[in-house]
């Protein structure tokens, strides 16, 4: 965001910086520099002050030095020539007796990001690698990585690489970890730092000295190592067991990642590791930080793909807190659905029922979908809850319930009677197109069971002129056709009106084509129509209902401990945005059969449209 009045500020700061009186007083000088940096972080372009700031850099005040360096690093690329002036000061600081000043100078020298200055930086960096103070060596090691990334494609200096490898034995653990990071970046094209047996064992032995972040880095790098024998493998595994159940989630996750990559060929060992890690993961689900909770939940979902029963005894831990954000609630519900069994089903449904009236509509709809999902195994109880919710007469709830009922009937046709009796009167509350499409599909397919179906459709047909949703119009056509087949006497008249409207008045090509298609289909005779339209009422691919089969760990192991599981949608496919359940069926049989059932010779009356819908058919 451009900061208003920026130019005025810059002029004023420039005056103050070059005022000898200000420069004479250290505190005033520092405060002026502080104001420059503050302006910079607020988005004011203060690059014009570069030469004044270069002067301000020659000071004994460390705080002022830090501020000036930060300024210089931000604007160096705009003033390469002036930056050359800084180098001298920086090189002098690199000789300072105070290690803090040395490391500061070295860090900022390598942060200038100017390829033209590389030659001046190399010498202090080489000296820095052998400095007495660990904090200087830390900076120097990473400095080499910065230098190489500054000149991509340049030759790699073997001497530096060797020196970095030897610094893996540095007494300071942070220097060691920084060496791994630097070598990884310098040798990127050769596949990163080489991890052989001696290095592996050295790193494993020194892991205890590292802090959490260092341990994670070491564990990440070790994933490249392949143990030479089973004995060695199990030695490593038992050495790492303590970090597998570490109270620090980052260490725990990095260790599990390493376990999974080491034991890729030993599924039994990997499964045991998953069991072991479930405790710390659950603890992370109760963490005070909600972002950490979310991360842990997403990874639990990943684990459950291979061990569906992993969290079974702990299902109560996934009950939602009433103040939790919607993204956590939705993940918890997805997990709860997977954990349903005969013992806990009534408790879980009680809990989910409470979420259906949540203020957040997304949460409410997700809860309703979750209940529908459980309904595939426990249909009676779920139907009772779902039909009860219809009584609330709220549009978002009714819409979600009707969609859920449609999906439920598609997999459990035995529920159809209850569903049919629940549908009466829904059309008054439904507002959104998704919900109305679902209602129309149900009325078309199960119209014989809903006594008021023709009247509901008639109301839709009367309002078709003002209908905006394409999906609803298409669904309405199909539903009316289907109802005509089961209840011809009541539907004939309105079907005629609808077809007339669609063919003569409708402007949308898809609707018009579908209308024409049905019109000609009817001309082919009622039997043909029945063949086409009264297809399956349920998903034939579903036999006995069983839980989701366990996937091999290798399917998700590579995305464990990455950002992938946290992204939207997660592992469960969203079923929200489709019209009717057939569209999701694996084999679109009816669509393939269509061209065969049509006799092209009978469609002479309106030749003009023929082209259009042949196009349409080929698309199908």
């Amino acid at each position: 965001m451009p900061y208003l009045g920026g130019e005025e500020t810059v002029r004023e700061l420039k005056r103050a910086l070059s005022n000898p009186n200000v420069q004479a007083e250290p505190l005033r000088y520092r405060n002026t520099v502080l104001r420059v940096v503050r302006a910079m972080s607020q988005g004011v372009n203060v690059s014009g002050l570069f030469s004044e700031m270069v002067k301000a850099c020659a000071t004994v005040d460390v705080v002022q030095k830090k501020l000036v360096y930060m300024f210089l690093c931000s604007y160096a690329s705009l003033n390469p020539e002036l930056s050359l002036l800084v180098i001298n000061t920086l090189r002098k600081d690199c000789q300072d007796p105070n290690p803090m000043v040395r490391s500061l100078a070295l860090r900022n020298m390598s942060n200038l990001r100017l390829p033209s200055l590389v030659e001046y930086v190399e010498q202090p960096l080489t000296a820095g690698l052998r400095d007495r103070a660990a904090c200087v060596r830390r900076v120097a090691v990473l400095g080499w990585a910065k230098l190489y990334n500054l000149q991509p494609g340049s030759d790699i200096d073997a001497a530096v690489v060797n020196e970095l490898y030897s610094l893996l034995r540095d007494p300071d653990p942070v220097v060691m970890v920084n060496c791994l990071r630097a070598l990884d970046e310098i040798l990127k094209e050769e596949g990163g730092v080489v991890i052989n047996k001696p290095i592996t064992h050295h790193l494993l032995n020194r892991m205890k000295e590292c802090d959490v972040w260092g341990q994670c880095e070491v564990l990440r790098v070790l994933q490249r190592y392949r143990p030479q024998s089973d004995d060695e493998l199990f030695d490593i595994l038992s050495l790492l067991d303590a970090s597998l159940v570490s109270p620090h989630p980052p260490v725990m996750a990095a260790t599990l990642s390493l376990f999974l990559s080491l034991c890729a060929d030993l599924p039994a060992v990997s499964l045991a590791a998953l069991e072991r890690v479930s405790g710390p993961l659950l603890a992370a689900c109760g963490s005070g930080s909600r972002e950490m909770r979310f991360t842990a939940l997403c990874h639990i979902q990943l684990l459950m793909r291979s061990v569906p029963g992993l969290m079974g005894p702990h299902f109560k831990r996934f009950f939602c807190g009433y103040a939790e954000p919607a993204y956590i609630k939705q993940r918890k519900m997805q997990i709860m659905v997977e954990l349903v069994n005969d013992e806990n089903v009534s408790m879980l449904l009680d809990e989910l029922k409470g979420y259906c009236t949540d203020v957040n509509t997304d949460t409410a709809q997700a809860a309703i979908q979750a209940i529908g999902h459980i309904g595939r195994s426990y249909s009676d109880r779920c139907l009772e809850i779902l039909t009860g919710l219809l009584g609330l007469k709220q549009d978002h709830i009714t819409s979600a319930v009707v969609q859920t009922l449609r999906d439920l009937v598609w997999v459990c046709p035995q529920c159809s009677d209850t569903v049919c009796s629940a549908l009466e009167g829904c059309e008054e509350t439904l507002q959104d197109s998704q919900g109305r499409q679902a209602l129309l599909w149900l009325l078309g397919v199960y119209g014989d069971g809903v006594s008021s179906a023709p009247y509901t459709l008639e109301a839709f047909i009367d309002g078709v002129k003002s209908e905006v949703s394409l999906g609803v119009k298409m669904e309405l056509l199909t539903a009316t056709m289907r109802l005509f087949l089961t209840r011809p006497a009541e539907t004939q008249d309105m079907l005629g009106r609808l077809l007339h409207y669609c063919i003569e008045e409708e402007t949308d090509m898809c609707v018009r084509d579908l209308g024409l298609l049905y019109y000609h289909l009817l001309k082919c005779g009622i039997e043909e129509t029945r063949n086409v339209l009264q297809g399956r009422r349920s998903d034939p691919s579903l036999g006995v209902l069983i839980g989701r089969p366990a996937q091999p760990i290798s399917q998700w192991a590579c995305s464990f401990n990455t950002l992938e599981p946290l992204k939207k949608g997660g592992t469960v496919t969203q079923t929200a945005s489709r019209g009717s359940p057939e569209h999701e069926a694996s084999k679109p049989k009816t669509a393939v059969e269509l061209p065969e059932t049509l006799d092209c010779s009978t469609i002479s009356p309106i030749p003009l449209f023929w082209k259009c819908w042949r196009l349409k058919l080929s698309v199908v």
Partner: protein
Amino acid sequence: MIRQLFILSSKGDPLLFRDFRGETGDDVVNVFYQKVTALPGDQPPVVMTLRDLHFLHIRQGGLYWVATTTADSSPFTIVEFLNRLAALVKDYCGGLSEKSVQMNFALIYELLDEVLDYGHIQTTSSDMLKNFLQSEAVSSRPFSLFDLSNVGLFGADTQQSKVAPSSAAARPIQASREQGGRSEIFVDVVERMSVVVGSNGVLMKADVEGEIRVKCFMPSCSEIRIGLNEELSIGKSQLRGYGAAVRVDRCSFHQGVRLDEFDSHRILRLCPSQGEQTVMQYQLTDDLPTAPPFRLFPTIERDGTGRLILFLKLRCDLPPKSSAVNVCASVPVPKGAVSLSQELSSPDQSAELQSQNRAVVWQIPRLAGGTQLSALFKLDVPGLSSASMLEVGPVGLSFELPKFSATGLQIRFLRLSPVQPAPSQRWVRYVTHSDSYSIRI
């Protein structure tokens, strides 16, 4: 690896921005904020992606702490790091708010420089960092008369000085170095309860997450010993001592804690570094030693004129000596409720209808153990039907229970060794919060 890191205020003003790698453009802050504002609600997902930019953020102190990173980075590491960074900023600035970040931006830049180099995390230990940080923290706490209430007339010591004000620990740690900062140590036992009570009053779920935090303001502290209840048992099978045992299911300790006296005497030994650290974390599932602190007896009915009548009795089952503060019950009510009339049992309570959240919020500043309060709410809901009663969903309670730990964990003693030369003050505090306390109707 962290490419950039920035802090945004809740309104989207950039407070701090640092680019560690110089690989991507500067407008990432705007890209992020546009993505946040484009979403409905105020709960953007933790991870957001735009082409090869991956944003990961946390919310702390009303601020967005955002890191951009690569797709293969560990989310655990980055979330934990951002949390740790926020804790460090809180330690060094004495509090987390837009104002304190703005006032101390130079200090935070300095901190960031030491904590991250080229996007790699270097160290977050305050022991190491204190050698490198030079800027002074600017405390943003405004002058308040309440600060004076602890000082007696003419500086005399009053009874009140035995109790530290709750804000005592909210100050920058570095102030203790010079300028009269007291040499103090706070040990807090903080527990969070998540409880579900069924409609028949049966406890469905009761979990407690607890931690012992040490906040140290001493410039040099060699070792402290924290003694816990001797009868504390860990896990289901173990039982120690006689009588009412204090039990937790799992516990884990900070790396620096020495546990050689833990098994025999339940003593934790550690050398705390300056600032705040969590020494021990523990969980207890489904087995509270005492009755849940609150019970609710609701009566809901419709009267003849189509009004919804809610009669709530809230009983506090804490021991008579303790009490709950800042109790807030939120009762979901049917959509479209327009007006509320209320009868509350005492004048310090208040209640309001929040139509945006579709809830009646009943605030009780203080509720003593063993007492009972009642409230009668009459709501006008046009078109109230019998099905609408379903919408009167689970009641959520939030509260604080000072000087109370739900698991019964106590700190027997807190010893500093060797004995400090300067007078030092030791504080032990207990508090139990509600993480989520819901009572079904």
